[in-house]
Amino acid sequence: MKDRTIYIVQFITLSFVWILAVSITWWFIHLVIVASELKDAQTASISISILAVTIFWILAGVLSYVFFGLHRNAKAGA
């Protein structure tokens, strides 16, 4: 298999983590909006979502850091 395709597939697998992080953020924003519309436990929703969303973004960030770090620092020509 060509290196190029391998890189693309790796990139797609990495993007899954970002899809997860973004969709969870989206989900939590949606829940906070619903909570504020219904005036039902807004503060709890906001604080919990801030906590959870940060964790997912950090995790996705760490994984991307490794991905790009490994590719940038690879030996030339390989």
Partner: protein
Amino acid sequence: MKKFLILIVTVIGFAAGIYTMRGAIDKHYEFTQPIDFSHYVHASKYKIPCIACHQHVLFGARAGIPNIEICGACHSTPMKKTPGEEQVFGYVKSHKQIPWYSIYYVPDYVYFSHLRHVVIGKLDCKLCHGDMAAFTSPPITQFLKIRMSNCIDCHQKRHASTDCWQCHR
């Protein structure tokens, strides 16, 4: 490798497809009403108001489909010779109810009251049922699809209650 790519693309495509199709899956009506009833003739030509036949609208939850008692009130003597009227006579004479198909229905866990919407809320029938007076044959699909999002949209627009228990039971 190609297999893997194809797999991913199909999975994503499938998910997207389901998501977009979610609302589009509708009940298809494949039947013809027993009589080729023309709302146009009744409501537009002879200017009969809706509630003259759909009488239950004023009194309760269900609108009810008018049947031989109401039809027979006018069609006891022949007015015009059309095949449709012949059929009505047939039903009226033999005291048989006309087997209309109901198109608009709500699930049993929803309380939809015509009284509340038409009498208290003073809504126009056209809002949900469309301009029935223009129809020359009986409708076969819902004009406003009966879906919770449609209810909620309208309730929010008109500042009606969106409290769950007002409609769910």
